[in-house]
């Protein structure tokens, strides 16, 4: 209906030869422009090719390119190549990893830490997301969420520094404990796995909170009410309804937090100590020292990425298996 009206109103004006004086009218009437558009839209295929060209080139050269180049460098014996030196293909950079415990210890430490921190974040964020999605009125939900978003706009370094001030020997936590009479001497929280954990959980909590919140928000309230009417207590309702129904949110939140946790560099440097060296620091070391250590660094980065991807893939598989089991 609408189509007919518009056609009858406007089509004659265009055809009657009265020039359209607006910017767009003039542009579309301008011969070079119309010629160009005719060329571009000559066929749907060509139009699509022109639309797709830039994204495809960008994604291949800018998104995939750096990863592939890293992989290539990791398989060579010299990079950047000095003049007069020939570059050879080699697996030595990967073999080097298994040869020394100062390489693989941080590697496994990073993965264990990341898994542990991810679990802590999940336990911390779930009740908060649950409260937001189920117990706050729709009108207030955005406000309550926004309150939590504000600190997360602040950068990694600033927030890490805030944790340093909180946990230092003369920090707020030690002062509070002393004031409560719980301790005489300050507890050395800093430069341990604990301080690193507090920092990383602090940095990643939001990435867990948002997927959980959107999963819980979709959960129909009636299900919980029905379960309650059938006599299920809050604990049973949580185990039998909320948790199984939000496995997808849990899976995506954990994946995100795990991947982010493995990639932190500044936070472990500032909050961790010599006993908590993570793999990011090991990798970075190869790029700071002089000499052609880049291939080794690249190989280690590839190992880290592959390991992190395999773990998250296995985790996602596990979660979807659980989900299928629950729905049966």
């Amino acid at each position: 209906m609408k189509r007919e009206i518009s056609a009858s109103n406007d089509a004659p004006r265009v055809q009657s030869g009265v020039p359209d004086r607006t910017f767009w009218g003039r542009l579309t009437g301008w011969a070079p422009y119309t010629a160009m558009m005719r060329l571009v839209t000559a066929s749907p295929k060509r139009q699509f090719a022109i639309l797709a060209a830039l994204p495809i080139v960008w994604v291949l050269t800018q998104h995939l390119g750096p990863m592939l180049q890293m992989l290539r460098v990791s398989l060579t014996d010299a990079y950047p190549v000095a003049p007069g030196v020939e570059q050879h293909f080699t697996f030595d950079n990967y073999l080097r990893f298994f040869g020394d415990s100062i390489f693989w210890m941080p590697f496994f430490r990073t993965l264990t830490f990341a898994a542990a921190f991810t679990f802590c974040t999940l336990v911390l964020a779930y009740p908060v997301a649950y409260f937001l999605a189920r117990h706050v009125s729709r009108r207030n939900q955005m406000l309550f969420l926004l309150i939590l978003l504000i600190p997360f706009w602040v950068g990694e370094i600033v927030r890490t520094y805030a944790i340093m001030i909180l946990l230092g020997n003369t920090g707020a936590l030690n002062l509070a404990l002393k004031w409560l009479g719980l301790i005489d001497q300050p507890i050395p929280f800093m430069y341990t796995g604990f301080s690193m954990g507090v920092g990383i959980v602090y940095l990643t909590a939001l990435y867990m909170l948002l997927p959980l919140y959107s999963a819980l928000e979709k959960l129909p309230k009636s299900m919980n009410e029905a379960a309650a009417d059938l006599g299920a207590g809050p604990w049973t309702r949580f185990w039998r309804i909320s948790l199984p129904m939000t496995l997808e949110g849990i899976a995506s939140g954990c994946t995100l937090v795990f991947l982010i946790s493995t990639g932190f560099y500044a936070t472990p440097v500032l909050l961790g100590g010599p006993s908590t060296t993570v793999f990011a620091e090991t990798i970075a070391g190869f790029f700071h020292v002089a000499g052609d250590q880049w291939p080794t660094g690249a190989a280690f980065a590839v190992l880290m990425f592959v390991a992190a991807l395999l773990i998250t893939a296995a985790f996602q598989k596990l979660m979807s298996a659980l989900r299928r089991g629950e729905s049966r």
């Binding site: 960008w58 944790i163 790029f287």
Partner: protein, 267 residues
């Protein structure tokens, strides 16, 4: 029945306590950090006995810090411009007509957002070297732009999927070619999403440490400068710098949140 209502209320109180405890956990470190910037002593630590504004005066006198502020902002603006154009373009392609390899294209689009920070920085460092970009502003802008494209693409795609197709058809029926229809119908409809995504990119870039650190030249961006200062020792001046950065980012974040919400409602 009454028991159950009691239980439900008990639950609710417990959960709300947990929520507020979380709010405290999230805010207290930042508040303490801001407070420390007003401490009248060079020594970082509690208790704070007397207060001063000297550290802020010092920050504004420190040319290095002021330069880092401006440098970070310039990098954020330039990289955001690139990310927004490319991200929107990719979103239009992905939300348009179905094509072979769309899933692959989508996977590649989100790839930079999934690569852990240090690995992405290393990959960019190696690639920049290969392409021949020297470490410095150009390299940082480029790495931030690439890293932020997925966020723009995802936000714009979400908005694009709700665009009523009839509007585009109407414009085409009235004689608009695809480009004019895109500029006059699609773009205005996408405006809130694009604006929200650009603010997000600006903040991501302004706050980014790891890429700026590995791709930077001699001039440090603000996070890199704070990091370098922290490694040589804590001082209330760092608190003052960090507090200014914090207030700036928080204000921009909240403003963008409210603004995009209002635009979304208008449409």
């Amino acid at each position: 029945m009454n028991d159950r209502v009691e239980l439900y209320r008990g639950n609710r109180i417990l959960l709300s306590c947990l929520y507020w405890a979380f709010v405290v956990y999230v805010f207290v470190p930042l508040i303490l950090m801001v407070m420390m910037g007003f401490k009248d002593s060079k020594f970082i630590g509690f208790p704070i006995k007397s207060w001063t504004l000297d550290w802020y005066v010092e920050v504004f006198r420190d040319a290095e810090v002021m330069f880092a502020f401006g440098y970070s902002m310039l990098i954020a603006i330039l990289s955001t411009l690139i990310s927004v154009v490319v991200g929107t373009w990719i979103a239009v392609l992905l939300e348009g007509r179905r094509f072979h390899g769309r899933a692959v294209m989508f996977g590649l689009t989100v790839l930079p957002a999934l690569v852990p920070g240090i690995i992405s920085a290393i990959a960019f460092r190696i690639y920049a070297r290969w392409v021949g970009i020297e470490p410095g502003m150009g390299a940082i802008v480029w790495s931030h732009a690439v890293h932020n494209v997925p966020f723009v693409a995802l936000v714009v795609m979400a908005r694009l999927s709700t665009l009523p197709k009839s509007q585009i058809e109407a414009a085409r029926d009235l004689g608009a070619d695809p480009l004019v229809a895109f500029i006059r119908i699609t773009l205005p409809y996408l405006a809130p999403a694009i604006l929200g995504a650009s603010i997000f990119c600006l903040l991501l870039s302004f706050d980014d440490f790891v890429r700026s650190f590995f791709l930077g030249g001699y001039e440090p961006t603000l996070p890199v400068l704070i990091f370098a200062k922290l490694r040589s020792g804590m001082s209330p001046e760092i608190n003052a710098i960090a507090s200014i950065a914090l207030v700036l980012t928080a204000i921009i974040g909240v403003w963008a949140e409210r603004f995009t919400r209002r635009l979304n409602k208008d449409n």
